[in-house]
């Protein structure tokens, strides 16, 4: 296609629920996404528990580019582009660790953990007059945020503050990332990050976790073999009633509502886990009352951070590495205060559920792979994708923020909201315009 047709809103028809395949397969659009989306939006970097001590660092990604998440010796957290200011060499090639400085292996330029340039090869002799080292530190993100231990950053100094960017989806964080008992006792990462490459466009993954509840057939095999932690039919325990919950910022959450009076029998395969969960549920009921059973199941924070908040509990970032390739980074989390035996059981359940060896996720990757592949052809591109489920049904809700569609109606409203916002980012140059675009009753056009 020619570049004159690349206006994103022409490719995303919200009134009809039709989205052009071009946005998933066109290399020119992918190049624009790097600038329009990944250089502007808030992106998930890591978790503060990965850099607890001064000098700790964890190498992450923002879009295709490598960044260093680190804590300096004053205790301040930074996110730097992982590229030497001198000649571009990746200054840190270890995945994580602790260091007093980042020393480039190419020409020995050396940076403190706060990013300042402190060492230059042959500085006294080679540079006459001397240059100002303070102007040649590591490139740092202009904005960074720490929300409930999750670290986020944007390359855009004009982007709104993170909490405004998150909008009312903050509620999903508060419900999903707290300890099971609803208290401030906190959650912690279970350990290292799974990283793997999948031959699909990154948006297949983001939209899937924003709330695609019609893809049950993908996981029929794990439902049949009783993958769930109670040994019953299904890949997880009963989570109550599903509710899709979408936001004008492009975030999508799939909530579940569990009746407060119903007995909780989850995790029957592990008596200790089941007992701990029930104990937490009783405390959650006392603390949250009517809202105790309201909890996100999965969600996507625009553009590429997704999570599971119940079974399993995990964070996922879908880092784009090409039009047709994505690097998935998945970490897992548990209640800090859970007994070791509970953490152990959950760790093993999580691993057999998610990740490249996860029996559930394996089938997702196959579908995303060949949906991407079979959409690239000249003829295939002529037909839009179909996102019409629940078109026109969503509405504001008394209990939950955002726009809500409840069972028995299944809805693709969240992917629609995601692509509406995607088109805003692609077409609109300023944050004022982006703010205006979400202030309209967006779901009326969108659903």
């Amino acid at each position: 296609m020619t570049s004159t047709n690349l206006t994103a809103r022409n490719l995303v028809d919200m009134a009809e629920g039709e989205i052009s395949r071009e946005i998933f397969v066109n290399a020119e659009i992918y190049e624009q996404e790097k600038e329009r989306i990944f250089s502007r939006a808030w992106l998930y970097i890591g978790h503060e528990s990965q850099i607890e001590n001064p000098g700790d660092y964890f190498v992450s990604k923002m879009g295709e580019e490598s960044v260093i998440l680190t804590r300096d010796f004053a205790g301040k957290i930074h996110v730097f582009l992982n590229s030497c200011a001198h000649r571009g060499m990746r200054v840190c090639r270890y995945d994580e660790g602790n260091t007093s400085a980042f020393r480039c292996p190419y020409h020995a330029w050396t940076y403190k953990t706060d990013g300042t340039l402190v060492g230059v090869q042959d500085y006294d002799n080679a540079y006459q007059p001397p240059f100002d080292k303070s102007e040649w530190g590591l490139v740092e993100v202009p904005q960074m945020a720490n929300y409930m231990g999750t670290i986020w950053a944007t390359w855009d100094e004009n982007a709104p503050p993170f909490e405004e960017y998150l909008g009312e989806a903050t509620v999903a964080f508060d419900h999903g990332f707290c300890a099971w008992d609803g208290s401030d006792a906190g959650t912690e990462l279970l350990g290292s990050t799974q990283k793997w490459r999948v031959p699909c466009n990154w948006k297949f993954i983001a939209e899937n976790f924003s709330g695609d509840w019609l893809h049950g057939v993908s996981h029929r095999s794990v439902d049949l073999i009783r993958l769930g932690p109670s040994g019953e039919v299904g890949r997880r325990d009963d989570f109550g009633q599903l509710v899709v919950n979408g936001f004008p910022e492009g975030h999508g959450i799939l909530y579940s509502l569990y009746p407060n009076k119903q007995e909780r029998t989850e995790y029957a395969m592990s008596p200790e886990t089941s007992e701990y969960f029930q104990h937490c549920w009783e405390r959650r009921l006392k603390k949250l009352g009517d809202k105790a059973g309201t909890c996100p199941l999965v969600g996507t924070i625009f553009p590429n951070m997704s999570f599971h908040a119940q079974q399993p509990r995990t964070l996922l970032v879908s880092h784009p590495t090409g039009t047709n390739e994505t690097e998935m980074w998945r970490t897992y989390f548990v209640d800090k205060s859970a007994p070791e035996s509970v953490k152990q059981f959950l760790r093993e359940y999580y691993m057999r559920y998610s990740g490249p060896a996860g029996m559930t996720e394996q089938d997702d990757m196959e579908n995303w792979n060949y949906a991407s592949e079979a959409s690239r052809g000249m003829i295939a591109r002529r037909r839009p994708y179909h996102y019409k489920a629940g078109l026109g049904v969503g509405s504001p809700h008394s209990e939950l923020p955002g726009v809500v569609t409840e069972q028995p109606i299944t809805s693709e409203q969240n992917p629609r909201f995601f692509y509406k916002r995607w088109a805003d980012y692609m077409d609109l140059g300023s944050w004022d315009e982006l703010r205006d675009a979400k202030s309209v009753r967006f779901w009326e056009r969108a659903s």
Binding site: R93, Y94, D95, E96, G97, L190, G191, S192, T193, Q194, K195, W196, R197, V198, P199, V217, S218, R220, S221, V222, L224, I225, R226, L227, E327, T331, Y332, Q344, R347, E348, Y350, M351, R352, G355, P356, A357, M359, E361, Q362, D363, M365, E366, N367, N369, Y370
Partner: protein, 183 residues
């Protein structure tokens, strides 16, 4: 040409090594011919089947390039989970391996890690080997997964069985989109 007689000890060692080689080759055949139920019989009921992840670390920290046993891994399965993996493939609706992939296991560099010459009933021994697992599916999708294995073998009712398998894959970012195969 004169033939030097092998000592009884040397012969016993070679016999055991040959038995281990045969066992691993038989296991590879069962997997590649999709005789999964027979393959499961080669594993003890308390098997630990573990594929840790790999990290980019300095030479100084080289002992940390394999994630610890209590960390997240690619696989950390007991027998029950391995049975579920087999049952999943057998459902016929496990799309990641449906249509079925073509898989070959090459097992080489087989060594007995301990200086053992016999393995009596109930005893265990550690073996080391290299694997190359090749997968090709649909038209052109192809993966080569290469690494080391450390297996603890146990003599059970006269036969060798796998009691523990540590699979050390030589990739940090996994370049296969998923791991539907066994190692």
């Amino acid at each position: 040409m004169t033939q030097t007689a092998l000592s009884a000890e040397r012969l016993a060692y070679l016999d055991l090594l040959r038995e281990v080689e045969d066992f691993f080759h038989h296991e590879a055949d069962l997997l590649d011919e999709r005789e999964y139920d027979q393959w499961l019989d080669l594993l003890t009921d308390d098997i630990v089947y573990w594929m840790p992840m790999r990290k980019n670390v300095s030479y100084k920290n080289r002992d940390q390039d394999i994630t610890a046993e209590d960390d997240i891994a690619w696989f950390h399965d007991d027998k029950e989970t391995l049975v579920k993996r087999v049952r999943q493939i057998q459902t016929g609706v496990h799309w990641a391996d449906e249509p079925i992939s073509r898989i070959s296991h090459l097992i080489t560099n087989i060594r007995l890690a301990d200086s053992v010459t016999s393995l009596d009933e109930g005893e265990t021994m550690v073996t080391k080997c290299r694997f190359l697992v090749y997968r090709n599916r649909l038209e052109t999708e192809t993966d080569f997964l290469i690494g080391r294995r450390e297996d603890t073998l146990q003599r059970v009712q006269g036969e060798l069985r796998v009691a523990r398998r540590k699979i050390i894959l030589d990739q940090s970012v996994l370049l296969a989109k998923n791991l539907t195969m066994f190692f």
